[in-house]
């Protein structure tokens, strides 16, 4: 009897009677949230607000003078400067080439490697390894492989009687080359996400469908693919965002060339900000890119919600 009474007394002494349980729980919740919230405010909201502010100025890093110009930078980018639309088109081509290719390949690899068979872990590792490889090393290696006549790829093609193009020196081929090499580098990540999703589908679904007479293709089309929907959406969103943000790969492989054929939005922003020092204009471009990516994400989410 004595011990519980003592515990109750101690609990009472430590309690702050002016705090209701609800207030106490709210305080605890905010306390737990605060590290993430602080990081979000400092590293996301604050830079975003700053960039928004810069985008309304004409600010040259060299002269260190910022002049408020209102929406002139946006007007310049969207209405006057033809470069922007060329770059936006390049980014769209890059995304439209990369996202479907990456997702289709990731799904095929996941379907092949989601089962259990001897050596499956080795294969998964092989396809995932490029994801953790340094982007610089990857780009440099591929730059050599894709050289004109001396490149490994063209030598292989020559072996079967095909004369390969100078991959990184012709605008269309250069875009195809950066897309494909980027897909090979990043496909492993989406493959792992798809493997996890496939393994989460109960095996009984497959057994039940087989018993009911469904072919492998029917099972995939009517059961597996719809159940992969949420994962496909996540993959589509992160891959699309990633494709609009691509910078290092382009910078190291083509430098945006040839003839600005691979000049994509993120690289164009870098050029404007840190090569030509037009911080105001670069900030406006960054805001436009933010809006494009956000809009694409919202559209994808909305489409998905409509499906389900």
């Amino acid at each position: 009897m004595g011990q519980p009474a003592t515990m109750a007394a101690r609990a009472q002494r430590n309690d702050a009677p002016w705090l209701t349980l609800k207030m106490r729980e709210a305080m605890e919740a905010w306390l737990f949230l605060s590290p993430t919230l602080a990081g979000f405010l400092i590293f996301f909201v604050a830079p975003l607000v700053a960039v928004l502010g810069y985008s309304l100025t004409e600010w040259n890093l060299l002269s260190q003078q910022a002049t408020f110009v209102g929406l002139a930078n946006y007007d310049d980018a969207l209405m006057r400067n033809a470069d922007f639309w060329h770059v936006a088109r390049n980014s769209a081509v890059f995304a439209l080439g990369l996202v479907p290719l990456n997702m289709a390949l990731a799904l095929l690899l996941a379907l092949a490697l989601s089962g259990r068979f001897r050596g499956v872990v080795v294969f998964r590792t092989i396809f995932f390894a490029p994801v953790v490889t340094s982007a610089a090393a990857w780009a440099i290696v591929w730059k050599f492989q894709l050289q004109g006549e001396a490149g490994f790829i063209n030598q292989v093609l020559a072996g079967i009687g095909i004369t390969g193009p100078n991959w990184l020196r012709e605008p269309n081929w250069a875009m195809a080359a950066v897309i494909v090499t980027r897909v090979i580098k990043m496909v492993g990540l989406n493959m792992i996400l798809y493997i996890a999703a496939l393994q989460a589908i109960p095996r009984d679904y497959d057994a039940a469908a087989r018993l009911e007479g469904a072919s492998g293709l029917q099972i995939f089309r009517m059961i597996t693919w719809p159940l992969l929907g949420p994962t496909t959406l996540v993959i589509m969103v992160i891959t699309t965002i990633g494709s609009f943000k691509v910078f290092d790969h382009i910078y190291l492989m083509t430098g945006g060339g040839p003839e600005n054929g691979t000049l994509v939005l993120a690289f164009y922003i870098y050029q404007q900000g840190f090569e030509f020092f037009n911080v105001g204009y670069a900030s406006a471009l960054a805001m436009i890119m933010f809006v494009i990516v956000m809009a694409l994400t919202v559209v994808q989410l909305a489409l998905r919600r409509k499906d389900t």
């Binding site: 109960p202 009984d204 679904y205 057994a207 039940a208 469908a209 087989r210 018993l211 009911e212 007479g213 469904a214 072919s215 029917q218 009517m222 059961i223 719809p226 159940l227 929907g229 389900t308």
Partner: protein, 348 residues
């Protein structure tokens, strides 16, 4: 409808023999229950019949046809899974019609067959719902409905009630029994619950470690178990088995020569006058269960003997004698095989 014949069926996973030679006849329209403890191979055997697992050796016939190499969908079987395996992105209607759709059945016929099955299972109002919007019992009915619409010859049930609560299990058990009466199809049902087996089966197949311990009607298995395993697996509470030396058989009654232990079901034992019982001991625990009490009687040898006792339970610690009708005695040899009841004419 179809009969089944399993001849020398074996299954090996790697180096492990899971099914070690099963011979079984299932008559047309019969309700057969595979029962046994976890890991005995009952679900594997069912999946082999369905075609979801290969048969390592032996022969499976459904009707007159050898089915070893026939695709699952062409065996004329439908299966209800323990997890129900309802496709979460499809409505009840689409779940039930899935098999018909992939087999190319016309939409009108599909609709009428789904409607018929839904009427049998009282699912009419639920057809547009998704599985996540259903209770456990409703999901179970949808799973059964999906099996019915395919109009199979043989229904296979893989522990279909194990995810339901006790009350719903009893209810669904009676629904499955009613369904069998109504459809008259051959049904094979897997469970580890011997009450389900006893209440549903025309014929029970008791499995242990991949072999059949005994096949028989519920009455046969209860009254004349072939060995100690079956004797103790069938019946609840399980049969008391006490060394022959601890039992005082009535004068004139002789245990078979090779018997080493005597089996007595708790519900067959009753308290009797001191000195006139077959065994005696002290009441260790008395558990009141409402309709009866379960007495744990500690025999003089230290063994515990369970007794289902009607009426007021004796106090713990009280010494009691227990009697049994001699027709309800079982005896077992050293290897656990039943060796018949004690024989002779007891002198009272």
């Amino acid at each position: 409808m179809s009969s089944l014949t399993l001849s020398g069926i074996k299954k090996r996973f790697g180096k492990v023999d899971v099914i070690r030679g099963v011979d079984l006849e299932v008559e047309d329209g019969e309700f057969v229950v595979f029962v046994g403890p976890s890991g005995c191979g009952k679900s594997t055997l069912l999946r082999m019949i369905a075609g979801l697992e290969d048969i390592t050796s032996g022969e499976l016939r459904i009707g007159e046809r050898v089915m070893n190499e026939v695709q699952p969908a062409r065996r004329g079987v439908a299966m209800v899974f323990q997890s129900y395996a309802l496709y979460p992105h499809l409505t009840v209607r689409d779940n039930m019609g899935f098999g018909l759709k992939v087999r190319g059945v016309k939409p009108e016929e599909r609709a009428s067959r789904i409607a018929a099955a839904a009427a049998i299972l009282k699912l009419d109002a639920l057809l547009e719902r998704f599985p996540r919007e259903l209770s456990g019992g409703q999901r179970q009915r949808v799973a059964i409905g999906r099996a019915i619409v395919g109009e199979p010859d043989v229904f296979l049930f893989d522990e279909p009630l194990s995810n339901l609560d006790a009350e719903l299990r009893v209810h669904m058990r009676s629904e499955i029994a009613a369904l069998h009466q109504r459809l008259g199809n051959t049904m094979i049902y897997v469970t580890h619950d011997q009450i389900e087996a006893m209440t549903l089966a025309d014929k029970i197949v008791v499995l242990r470690d991949g072999i059949v311990e005994q096949v028989g009607t519920p009455h046969e298995l209860y009254r004349r178990p072939r060995n100690l395993f079956v004797a103790q697996f069938i019946g609840s509470p399980k049969m008391n088995v006490v060394p022959l030396a601890d039992v005082e058989l009535p004068p004139g009654l002789v245990a078979p020569a090779n018997a080493v232990s005597i089996g007595m079901r708790p519900e067959h034992l009753a308290i009797t006058n001191p000195g006139s019982g077959i065994v005696s001991g002290r009441v260790a625990i008395a558990e009141y269960t409402g309709a009866s009490s379960l007495l744990h009687v500690e025999l003089d040898s230290g063994a515990i003997c369970l007794v289902v006792h009607q009426g007021d339970e004796p106090q713990a610690g009280k010494r009691i004698d227990l009697r049994i009708d001699t027709g309800n005695l079982h005896s077992f040899g050293a290897d656990g095989t039943a060796c018949g009841p004690p024989t002779g004419h007891p002198r009272s």
